[in-house]
């Protein structure tokens, strides 16, 4: 780089630029938090949904599945599984309940997590709540 462009100019761009964008990011975050109530389906967060989120977390579901496209890519997207399963929490519960403990020979299979009825209901309600978050029409289709 030429002599015209000095180290102290570079330093000023670094400090000034970074600081400006940190503040811009904070302002955008503030605005996002203000608009979230219209999008994030927070009215649906019941104690049951909160329990379901904990069940989701404490069984590391994200270690195989994606949720709104984030997570591992080994098993299907679950952000819209409630809709894929015909808008049925019962279908979700039945699926989780029926996983064979020793898997399926040669194939990927979800582990048997031995969830209680309360936990099953919670995680199903959590997935229902998630499917009703406004995600700018993602995923493109029902297959997730």
């Amino acid at each position: 780089m030429s002599e015209v462009f000095t180290k102290s100019m570079a330093r000023n761009i670094y400090y000034g630029g970074s600081l400006f964008f940190v503040f811009l990011f904070l302002a955008l975050t503030f605005d996002t938090m203000k608009t979230l109530p219209q999008q994030d389906n927070r009215a649906a967060i019941t104690p049951q949904v909160a329990l379901g989120k904990r069940v989701w977390e404490e069984n590391n579901c994200i270690g195989c599945h994606t949720l709104l496209g984030e997570g591992a890519y080994f098993a299907p997207e679950l952000g819209n599984v409630y809709k894929r399963f015909g808008n049925s929490t019962e279908a979700i519960k039945a699926f989780i309940r029926s996983r064979p403990a020793n898997g399926i020979p040669g194939r990927r299979s979800m582990p048997q997590f031995n969830l209680s009825e309360e936990e099953l209901e919670g995680v199903a309600q959590f997935l229902k709540y998630t499917s009703e978050i406004k995600t700018q029409n993602w995923p493109p289709n029902i297959q997730g």
């Binding site: 949904v49 299907p76 990927r108």
Partner: protein, 461 residues
Amino acid sequence: MKYQSQKVARLYFMAAIGLFTGQILFGLILGLQYVIGDFLFPAVPFNVARMVHTNLLIVWLLFGFMGAAYYLVPEEAERELFSPKLAVALFWIFLVAGALTILGYLLVPYSGLARLTGNDLLPTMGREFLEQPTITKLGIVVVALGFLYNIGMTILSGRKTVINMVLLTGLVGLAVLFLFAFYNPDNLVKDKYYWWWVVHLWVEGVWELILGSILAFVLVKVTGVDREVIEKWLYVIIAMTLITGIIGTGHHYYWIGTPGYWQWLGSVFSALEPIPFFMMTVFAFNMINKRRLNHPNKAAVLWAEGTAVMAFLGAGVWGFMHTLAPVNYYTHGTQITAAHGHMAFYGAYAMIVLTIISYAWPILRGEKAANQRAQVLEMWSFWLMTVSMVFITLFLTGAGVLQTWLQRYTDDPLPFMVVQEKIAPFYWMREAAGVVFLIGLLVYLYAFVARGKPAEDATAA
């Protein structure tokens, strides 16, 4: 080695390489589970193996960064480390906590580990990359604070070079942003929004400061180019990193329940994110072309060049490929993401740690460079690992393109598992490339054996 206390870096580098090896072994298990679904089931289910794979990556990179800091900070500050004893103590705390956590993942069902560690008191577990029990996270904070204290005291009471100050900024940022790992609201959208403050603002923010300063340090040492020139480059690169990368976080805010304007902001700013990586490539090659000395450690120079190229390809090019919102609408959460993740992490962060180890290890043993044979072996390992990572990325990209097409783009989208079976040949090829990577890693490890007895042992005896 100018200062005795730099020696503490050796411990950190050894742990980094050991955990790196573990990470690769679990990577091979995961790759096999992609095609032989019941491999090791139910003893080591995919989610457990993946958690071990990604957590080992994070921990070995952190060991690498800390080792790098303990090596280069005293030399830059022109004084001994503030407290070598603290550095050794923190090493063992971090290693034992890390090992216990990994063993916990492998030996106890995850829900049991959550109960055992009292996740109910402050639930932070079960989110991607932040799976560590809350108590481990607290341990990480303690280690980070002790580490920053040690490094900070050294830097602030010594010569304050740009490299040291940028490194310190990056490390402080790393520690501060990690605190968002403790924020886990019931609202999934908010949870995800701030989760990215750890994940994105680490790897596309402050970690790039750490990467840049380590690369700048090594380039100062192996090229002999005037420090003023290198520091100016460093400032410009990290300026571009933060100018593009902070708002670039928006490319994660397209489809998680956040407002639509993030599609514009995320697309525009993250499309600029390759710029600092490209500048890093130009920087590294420029400095090496203008070198004023021929450093005998050819392997270290090769790693530095490799980092500059592979970080640009993996983070820059493969990141740009799926970062624009209209493209990402179809590729989000497919194997395209996995392809990008593999080459970006290897190219930017694994390779910079291997660069500083390559440069510092001989010096810590009391020699300027390893013997010819060990260097040739190390360079072989460089090519084996780097080329096989290119192929891993290409095969995953192939899998991802097909997956995007079959599951997302056609008029008759197919279910996830049907698509997975159709793209299995790509997974097999990825696994084969993974085996070559392991061979490369074994050559890398053997290169350490081939170095023979350290020179300093001979003088000590």
